[in-house]
């Protein structure tokens, strides 16, 4: 198990390394001049040249990349024009735009995105697995048809429509909830939850249908297995069969899918973040891509990449814990 984890972590690091190389390469060939954008519209060519030097953009791309790697492991000294600034390890560089350390920018933004992703995932798992199990048990009935219809409608509606609808319904019309504004969890957990409720719901409604369908088909498959028949033949009530025996088998594919989705939520939450004004990574990603702020983009991509890698390792471990026949090697 330990050996397996070490191997997986090493593999994950390699993936992240490759990811960072690719982003550097893409930015190198992409059009646009970060120095001009950082300097502002009224800069003359001489000023732009100075900025370029200061940002280290006049160095070859592999040197820049090397400095980036160095920064992560040991920290790096950057010149800010007026002097040098030491950026402590793990340093992801300084933003081209405002000279702030990227690590700090990300740490600032991470809680909002993590709140959104984790909360939405919990909600969509509850919704999706719940409706999935229910429609498997009530197969062919009216309950199933209504649930299928509802979840499908949720998936078919883009998040900005759902989000807008939720805002209008709960904040403007019914006035049950305040218009969301991000309150950090550490400041006030209750306010945090109330304010996050609508963003969670908007994302969860989008994802729940997929989980409902997966859970339903996987549940039906499991319920048709021989060992379920055994427990029926030994007088177990349907509730203990479903809860105690069928659910465990049915959830294996759900675990795998959640891992993939959890990672992608980090990257795909921009729309939801913008919609609800959450100061998260998605917003940061959008602004820094527009201004070709390479250090910030690389930083955000690495963080979301890490989320994907960690979620997948976690899913595999969960798999093995749920099903002892799976050997991790």
């Amino acid at each position: 198990m330990t050996g397996y984890l070490l191997r997986r972590i090493a593999g994950g690091l390699a993936v992240l390394l490759v990811l960072s190389v690719i982003i550097y390469a893409v930015f190198y060939v992409a059009p646009g001049d970060p120095a001009r954008l950082a300097c502002g519209p009224r800069c003359n060519p001489e000023q732009i040249r100075q900025v370029r030097e200061q940002l280290g953009l006049n160095q070859p791309v592999y040197t820049q990349y090397w400095h980036f790697l160095q920064g992560i492991v040991a920290g790096h000294d950057y010149s800010t024009g007026t002097g040098t600034m030491h950026c402590q390890a793990p340093c992801l560089g300084l933003s081209y735009q405002n000279d702030q350390p990227v690590t700090g920018l990300i740490i600032q933004r991470l809680p909002a995105t993590a709140s959104l992703a984790v909360g939405a995932m919990v909600l969509w798992l509850l919704l999706g697995v719940g409706t999935g199990v229910l429609s498997a048990l009530r197969r062919g009935g009216i309950t199933e048809r209504v649930l299928t219809w509802l979840t499908l409608a949720g998936t078919a509606t883009p998040v900005f429509i759902t989000g807008l609808g939720l805002l209008m319904l709960f904040c403007a019309y019914l006035q049950w909830l305040p218009f969301p504004s991000y309150v950090p969890l550490t400041d006030d957990p209750e306010q945090w939850a109330w304010n996050m409720l609508l963003p969670w719901l908007a994302l969860a409604l989008l994802e729940a249908a997929k989980y409902a369908r997966l859970t339903r088909s996987s549940m039906l498959e499991t319920l048709a297995e021989d060992h379920i028949r055994t427990f029926r033949a030994y007088g177990l009530a349907e509730r203990s069969i479903v809860g105690g025996h069928a659910l465990r088998g049915a959830l294996a594919p759900v675990i795998a899918l959640s891992a993939a989705d959890f990672g992608s939520i980090f990257g795909n939450a921009m729309l939801t973040e913008t919609m609800f004004g959450l100061p998260g990574l998605g917003q940061l990603m959008v602004t820094s891509t527009k201004t070709i702020d390479l250090p910030v983009v690389v930083g955000v991509v690495l963080v979301t990449g890490t989320a994907v890698v960690v979620a997948n390792i976690l899913a595999d471990v969960l798999y093995a814990v749920a099903d002892r026949r799976v050997a991790l090697r």
């Binding site: 060992h227 033949a233 030994y234 203990s240 749920a322 002892r324």
Partner: protein, 557 residues
């Protein structure tokens, strides 16, 4: 429902009912399929005395399992319509409410299923599964008491070190141990009736013998009644006192087991008995058509996996196959017989040793270099359902090897396929029909036609008849023999059923743990086995008993 109430009123005379553990009358089970209704059980009636043992035998589709499931009301909620009366230990099964029925299931009548691996929850420790069932029926039992009971019954069915093994999951048990564990679950609540649905069909013959011994012993000790559903008349013969033969949902014959087996009244029973392959019967002697070996292997090896996880499936096997002869390859599961069979036609690459076909060393050849030999070495697979592509017509499947060879035109291929279909006893116009339109035996004929298509010299048949009913089995075996004589084929017949192998083999090879333990002319090995392993295998084969064999001398009369 009217049948149920009438049975209740007529069966009310106390004395007789108390002696009868199971009383079934006019049982009918209908399955709605599409717009039609399939009648799986049709007006079945039988009784089982307290402590008695009844065998229900029949071929697949005869309704024997469906009837057994009705004893525990297992058709409820499946859409099947059950009418007639089923009484088990005084309970009118069809009239019980859900809660009462759950009390009967496992508590009064317990079921032992066919496939012990899939019949247990793969995620949970075996002891916990038994304990859970126990607590369903003994509400007042504590968790601890239930766990203790699980260990007790596991110990009773012969699981060594039961206290520790109770914490293992099903995949950590061997096939036989799993079946023992299922029987332990059945015993946990001391039911009065055991319903065993093909309890040994998935097991090796020696393990089968042990499980049957265990069942007999437990019945002697506890006086539990038994209903044994099986397709194997030999298994039924030694384990029940009454026999019910089913066909098309109806009881064809019903009586004391010896009477039914020794003096069957019905033609169907006689046909069924005649089709049962007999291990005692010699095969007419035949010689190979040439002395020059067709296939010769020396020191053949095959490992799977690497390093610590390496498993040697075939460990230094040497044998020869001469033209036109049949070599029977027997052994229990895990003996390496299938791996060896696949290597003989180079579906698998040997990891060591030599494989010579007509003087050419095929062992290390690459796919491209093997191509000229592919047509001459063919294989027939066990599962005729899984080995045919369900989305292609059978004609296309048979044409595949011909197209692959690329020597014939489309018209020639079509006419060759028709000729092959006719040769294996199928309608030559069936070219465009799909596998699901055929029965198991017919599908296996398609598999044989496909193997014959490129005019092979050697066919490896891997358990070609083990998925088939005895009557179909006899026909397919007959067809293989005929083809062999006509086309001068060499056959390697891989099977676990020793009686079937005896019917077809000139020479016999017995494998165990990847090695050959005994080899020789079939009659010699069957009649004077030298190796203790072979002796054990042969002794474990269930027989219809000597008197049964004698009565069958003239089945056609």
């Amino acid at each position: 429902m009217s049948a149920a109430t009438s049975a209740e009123t007529s069966g009310g005379t106390g004395a007789e009912k108390s002696r009868s553990l199971v009383s079934v009358s006019g049982l009918t089970v209908d399955f709605p399929v599409g717009g039609n209704v399939v009648r799986a059980v049709d007006g079945l009636s039988f009784e089982l005395a307290e402590g008695g043992a009844l065998g229900i035998v029949g071929e697949s589709g005869s309704g024997k399992s469906t009837a057994a499931y009705a004893l525990l009301g297992l058709h409820r909620g499946t859409g099947a319509r059950v009418t007639g009366s089923v009484r088990v230990a005084g309970h009118d099964i069809n009239a019980l409410d859900e809660a009462q029925l759950r009390g009967v299931r496992g508590g009064v009548a317990a079921m032992v299923f066919q496939d012990p691996l899939s019949s247990l929850d793969p995620y949970q420790a075996i002891g916990d599964q038994i304990a859970e069932v126990y607590r369903v029926h003994r509400r007042d039992a504590s968790r601890r008491a239930a766990r203790a009971r699980a260990v007790e019954v596991l110990d009773r069915v012969g699981i060594p070190d039961a206290a520790r093994r109770a914490r293992s999951r099903p995949h950590e048990f061997s096939g036989g141990q799993r079946q023992r564990a299922l029987i332990a679950m059945a015993l946990a609540c001391e039911p009065r009736l055991l319903v065993a649905d093909e309890p040994t069909t998935a097991l090796d013959v020696t393990v089968q013998a042990q499980i049957l011994d265990l069942l007999r012993e437990l019945r002697r000790e506890t006086g539990t009644g038994l209903i044994l559903v099986t397709h194997d008349l030999g298994v039924a013969a030694g384990n029940v006192d009454r026999l019910l033969v089913m066909k098309g949902g109806k009881a064809v014959e019903h009586g004391p087991v010896r009477t039914v087996l020794d003096a069957p009244r019905e033609p169907y029973t006689r046909d069924l008995l005649a089709a049962v392959p007999r291990i005692e019967v010699r095969r007419p002697a035949r010689a190979a058509s040439g002395d020059e070996p067709l296939l010769e292997v020396t020191g053949l090896r095959r490992e799977f996996g690497r390093g610590r996880n390496a498993l040697t499936a075939v460990d230094g096997v040497s044998l020869t196959v001469r033209p036109g002869e049949t070599v029977g390859l027997v052994g229990e599961s895990g003996s390496g017989k299938t791996t060896l069979g696949r290597m003989l036609v180079r579906l698998l690459e040997p990891t060591g040793g030599e494989l010579r076909y007509r003087g050419h060393d095929l062992g290390g050849l690459r796919e491209r270099e093997l191509r000229p030999f592919r047509g001459e070495l063919q294989m027939v697979f066990q599962d005729p359902v899984a080995s045919l592509n369900p989305r292609r017509s059978i004609g296309e499947s048979i044409a595949d090897p011909l197209r692959a060879a690329g020597r014939l035109t489309e018209a020639e291929i079509t006419s060759r396929v028709r000729e092959l279909l006719e040769r294996v006893g199928l309608d030559p116009h069936a070219y465009h029909r799909y596998p699901h339109e055929f029965s198991g035996g017919q599908r296996q004929r398609v598999g044989i036609a496909r193997a014959l298509a490129p005019r092979p010299r050697l066919i490896v048949c891997d358990e070609p008849v083990s998925a088939l009913d005895v009557t179909t089995q006899a026909q397919v075996v007959g067809l293989l023999g005929e083809l062999q004589r006509e086309l001068d084929l060499a056959l390697v017949f891989v099977a676990h059923d020793l009686a079937v192998v005896r019917q077809v083999s000139d020479r016999l090879v017995v494998m165990k743990g990847g090695r050959i333990v005994e080899e020789g002319p079939a009659d010699t090995v069957y009649e004077r086995p030298q190796h203790p392993y072979t002796q054990g295998l042969l002794a474990a084969v269930p027989r219809l008993a000597p008197s049964g064999a004698a009565a069958l001398a003239g089945p056609g009369e």
